[in-house]
């Protein structure tokens, strides 16, 4: 009963937040003199209106799913890894360099790219991890700093070391290593599949294996776990490595699936977006995947909305931000002792009433 109630609020808060965010979006549109119904219709049509549109949405969701799962896994172990963006980009950069410099093509090339990407991602994740367990440093600040280093390093690659002749970007990867589309007339590439598989694997690991249980226990209460003799430091390090690897794999597969080359502006905001999505998904891997697809749809649809109704895309950005603002606040609210006591009083009163009725 208690669990059901918990998952009910876990479900209710994000849904309510989404509804409210859309309501406010609608008010803004009305104030602008646009029709919210038409705008949201265009938004929906742009994101899901055709097989091709759904494909675009899934494609856009792919990198977000990876960074969101990266955040999700780390937080389950009580580790605030905000470095998803850096790990993602370093994965893409390393994966690119591996295939570009070795010239390996077709399937071995794909494998090489994904492997180097994953490896680079977890090394990038390891640095804040090591600093946390050896020097006790706050992993959030370190991983934010690492994001910038990764972005700038990618800049060095595409502006200086591996640049294409005409533009500040690298050449595109060889055609034989580009991931094909899953279904020919839908735009999404095979990169989407590992994203979902990673989500399912995480779910299985976290909820159905004993190490997964222990990892969650560490995340819930580090001190108690330490008393129970859990190797807490090992778990923390593992979660950094694994979450870094997920993001790195994401970078490499996004590179092969849609991006093909490193370019200015690639990956901006993916990391923080991932964190927000993981939180809205209540740190549940499968819910996180769903939330990431939802946000991708909002993004893809927002341009259609702007084109069809002249409502600026920033309205969609505002809606996305409000979803985050509301759901995080809402979740915090349900954790408050005052709120819990309030709920408890309500429950006892209504069950008391039931008993009264029975007596009567």
């Amino acid at each position: 009963m208690e669990r059901v109630k918990k998952s009910m609020t876990g479900f209710l808060v994000p849904v309510l937040s989404i509804i409210l965010a859309f309501l406010i979006g609608a008010i803004i549109m009305l104030a602008m003199g646009a029709s919210p119904a038409r705008a949201f219709g265009a938004l929906f049509k742009g994101a899901f209106g055709s097989a091709a549109a759904i494909g675009t949405t899934l494609n856009k969701a792919t990198p977000l799913i990876f960074t969101a799962l990266c955040a999700c896994f780390a937080y389950k172990c009580g580790v605030f890894n905000l470095g998803g963006e850096g790990q993602f980009l370093i994965g893409a950069t390393a994966g690119f360099c591996a295939v570009h410099l070795t010239g390996v093509t077709s399937f071995p090339g794909i494998l090489l790219c994904l492997l180097t990407g994953t490896l680079a991602g977890d090394i990038w994740g390891l640095i804040p991890g090591i600093l946390k367990i050896t020097r006790g440093l706050n992993e959030m600040i370190i991983s934010i700093m690492m994001n910038y280093v990764a972005t700038l390093f990618m800049g060095v690659i595409y502006t200086s070391w591996c640049r294409d002749a005409g533009m500040p970007q690298t050449a595109s990867v060889d055609e034989s290593v580009m991931l094909p589309r899953v279904i020919p007339n839908m735009r999404f590439a095979w990169a989407f599949v590992p994203a979902v598989v990673v989500g399912l694997l995480l779910y299985y690991f976290l909820y159905w294996t004993s190490s997964g249980f222990k990892l969650r226990a560490v995340g819930l209460n580090m001190t108690a776990s330490r008393f129970n003799g859990f190797p807490v430091k090992t778990y923390i390090l593992t979660s950094f490595i694994v979450s870094g690897a997920i993001a790195g794999l994401g970078g490499a597969s996004d590179l092969l699936g849609t991006q093909y080359r490193l370019i200015n502006g690639y990956g901006v905001g993916y990391g923080f977006d991932g964190v927000a999505m993981a939180l809205i998904g209540q740190l549940h891997p499968i819910a996180t995947v769903v939330v990431a697809i939802f946000f991708a749809a909002l993004r893809v649809g927002s341009t259609s909305m702007q084109v069809a109704t002249k409502v600026p895309t920033s309205v969609s950005d505002i809606i996305q931000a409000l979803v985050i603002v509301f759901s995080v606040a809402g979740m915090a609210l349900t954790q408050l002792p005052e709120f819990k006591a309030f709920m408890l009083r309500l429950t006892s009163r209504s069950s008391g009433k039931k008993e009264e009725r029975k007596e009567a």
Partner: protein
């Protein structure tokens, strides 16, 4: 009951928050007029315009947008919609959105959109695409033969600015700020330098150019400020650029420097429209009138004669020209400059 109360609580809290957010929006909204939604009349054809900077960046974006509006306004068959301030991963989405809305033509003003244009062009064979400054081989390599390239002669653009720079420079050092190291930007820089040196030699002085710098951005005006300051330190006294809002930043820094000196000592040559008067330091502009090229494209799409080809623009066919010249240039300099432009038209310049 309890669910209802929980919802009520969440709701009231959230509206509290919303009030804050809304309040913020209102205060900064000030006395804004209601949103301007450009209501176009009954038009049979639609062109979509995408841009990675803003349409009021005072440089590249502004010029491309006004060129397109001029072409569209002249042609009652056409109406225009735009999406600006796009991020790199938004180019594709925006163009797909226009394609799905049934637009007939999409105009992408820059070589950096090439990848996205080619991809969308392959997926939407019925939609036509116009790419400004794409490579010469692009139209032929598009599978559906639906991409045309507008290619104003970048070297001549460089010459037009370079000749003026060669005449105007007193310190003998000229500077160039680019947005990205695009092929066309490089060609502009090279033309700028060679024309300046040629003209200076004829005038009996020597001019050397600082290496071109690239902001890797079209919308960070602070980069322009800092670049211009650093280049003025290196004695540069004529600036030319190819970087949208970054150029505006550079002009601001030049104006500030001139103000400190008490006279206009450092000049700027604007492009790609006539920006004389926008800043005090502007002595002339290199004007690229893409609207005439665009008008041709619009017509060809409307009557079904659209061809996947490269259309060049130069001084001879009137796409390139010079803007008004500042009064601070002496009559003598202005005449000499016009003579050089004539030479460029005849093909006798530097030959």
């Amino acid at each position: 009951m309890k669910k209802f109360l929980a919802m009520l609580l969440c709701g009231s809290m959230i509206f509290g928050l919303a009030a804050c957010g809304g309040g913020a929006a209102n205060t900064s909204d000030g006395g804004s007029d209601a949103a301007e939604t450009a209501e176009a009349g009954e038009a049979t054809h639609k062109v979509g315009f995408i841009l990675n900077s803003s349409i009021n960046d005072g440089g590249w974006g502004t010029a491309c947008y006004t060129d397109l509006t001029a072409a569209v306004d002249a042609d009652p068959d056409w109406e225009l919609a735009y999406t600006d301030s796009l991020s790199q991963d938004g180019y594709y989405d925006a163009m797909v959105a226009y394609c799905n809305e049934g637009f007939d033509l999409i105009y992408a003003p820059g070589g950096e959109y090439t990848d996205a244009v080619m991809q969308v062009a392959e997926e939407y064979p019925d939609v036509k695409f116009a790419l400004l400054n794409g490579g010469e081989d692009i139209p032929a390599s598009a599978k559906n033969e639906n991409v045309t390239c507008l290619l104003p002669d970048a070297t001549q653009i460089g010459w037009i600015a370079g000749a003026l720079a060669g005449l105007a420079s007193e310190t003998g050092t000229i500077a160039f700020i680019g947005g990205m190291e695009l092929t066309t930007t490089l060609a502009k820089y090279e033309g700028y330098v060679e024309a300046a040196q040629y003209v200076a030699e004829k005038e009996g002085k020597t001019v050397s150019a600082l290496d071109a710098v690239y902001a890797n951005s079209f919308d960070d005006s602070s980069k322009g400020i800092e670049f211009a300051n650093a280049m003025i330190e290196q004695n540069a006294d004529v600036f030319f650029g190819d970087a949208s809002a970054v150029d505006s930043g550079a002009r601001q820094a030049i104006d500030e420097y001139n103000e400190k000196q008490g006279e206009i000592k450092v000049f700027d040559i604007a492009q790609p429209a006539d920006f004389l008067g926008q800043n005090d330091c502007i002595i002339g502009s290199q004007v690229t009138d893409n609207s005439s090229l665009l008008s041709l494209v619009l017509k060809s799409v409307a009557d079904g004669t659209f061809k996947a080809e490269v259309t060049y623009g130069d001084l001879e066919n009137g796409v390139l020209s010079i803007g008004a010249l500042s009064d601070s240039l002496s009559k003598d300099v202005q005449d000499k400059y016009l003579a050089y432009i004539e030479e460029m038209k005849n093909g006798t310049f530097m030959s």
